[in-house]
Symmetry: C2
Subunit: 202 residues, 2 copies
DNA sequence: AATTGACAATCTGGGTCCATCTTGTCAAAT
DNA sequence: ATTTGACAAGATGGACCCAGATTGTCAATT
């Protein structure tokens, strides 16, 4: 019976927490886990170093929370893009893959190779693959619902196979694209090619 | 007017040289440039260490010759696959990409990251991109000749765009496929999807 | 032509020492 | 709730040395 309204999914004190996590993401992706210091993150988030410890007990805690938060944001953005019925199919797919993969293009530094090690040394790895599965299933679902899979019926290819192919393309573009714009460009071409059987309307 | 026949492109003493280069390729890809010793390569090629110096002045010479040879072999195999008119289009494309990309899946070790550094620090880098261009143009040419580009006419996509998309897919599969077989499987799916507009004829 | 044995010059990896940075915690102040 | 200042314990990185590996070359041998 308080006077405040609380969103059950998002406690209000998450505003600051999210700011910290967003700042941390950029630093971690650029410099990796070891070469990133709490002081560096604190300055990026414009808080004191001790302010970080007020929310995260250790550096590893901060890191894992950062990745988890990043994945949740990516999945949410991707889902929103994929399910935006006001957009044509191609655009929905582009936004989905841009949110899930393109977001990180150009953000990874050379020292960021230890991220996956720290990640796999914790239980968050499973969260990552679970979110990945959710994203891929959302894409496959959209491909089915849009009638695209039916259009590929003569090939016998499943929605999951088409999805995996598109995902492989996205991963390939991620490593060869210098900028996010180039990635969007590339995945857009791939998606247009894939969606051609539905007719190049407009 | 000797009694021997000489292929003008392949001097006969290349037999031994090629054996050395093939052996060297496997070692270099697995252990990288620095962590690979001439002794290691010599043992892999079943020759003495000094036997290597009889053909290659320095370790770097051997390395660059190895990469150049490897690219030439890949390009030759890929060209043979792409131009094999006895095969259906899909199979020709699969063989092309398998020769150009799949051949190396699973062969790269964790220490092989310094290969690109040494490569870019020499003039061979240009050879690599030139061969890559030749491969991609061969693919694009096949896509045009097969009528596939025409089938995509309504999308406005060019042969080069379709080719680049397929190449991005291949690169994505390269990093996620543990084995060459898995790669061939994946690129086969992608190619079947791409070739669908020509009809899933047998 | 290729091999073995041997060689000096050089490179590499391990080890130690030590100064510096970083982490995680605390009390006092706003 | 957050900040500043401060702190000990521990991690990190650079300088240095040294043993062993590696490179590139040679002469003698098949």
């Amino acid at each position: 019976m308080g006077t405040e309204l609380k969103s059950p999914e998002k406690p209000p004190d998450d505003a600051r927490r999210n700011r910290l996590l967003d700042a941390a993401l950029g630093v971690f992706l650029r410099y990796g886990f070891r070469k990133t210091s709490m002081d560096q993150v604190a300055r990026a988030a414009d808080v004191s170093r001790q302010g970080l410890y007020l929310h995260f007990a250790t550096k590893e805690d901060l890191f894992l929370a950062t990745l988890q938060h990043s994945m949740e944001v990516s999945l949410r953005l991707a889902s929103e893009g994929l399910s935006d019925v006001s957009l044509p199919l191609e655009e929905r797919l582009v936004r989905g893959f841009d949110a899930w993969v393109g977001r990180y293009v150009g953000m990874l530094g050379a020292d960021a190779r230890d991220l996956s090690e720290v990640l796999s040394a914790s239980g968050v790895q499973e969260v990552a693959t679970r979110h990945e599965t959710l994203f891929l299933e959302a894409v496959a679902k959209l491909l089915r619902a849009s009638g695209l899979v039916a259009a590929y019926k003569s090939t016998g290819l499943t929605a999951r196979q088409l999805t995996d192919t598109l995902y492989a393309t996205a991963r390939g573009l991620k490593y060869s694209s210098g900028t996010r714009e180039a990635f969007v460009q590339g995945i857009g071409v791939a998606i247009r090619a894939l969606c051609m059987p539905l007719g190049a309307s407009r």
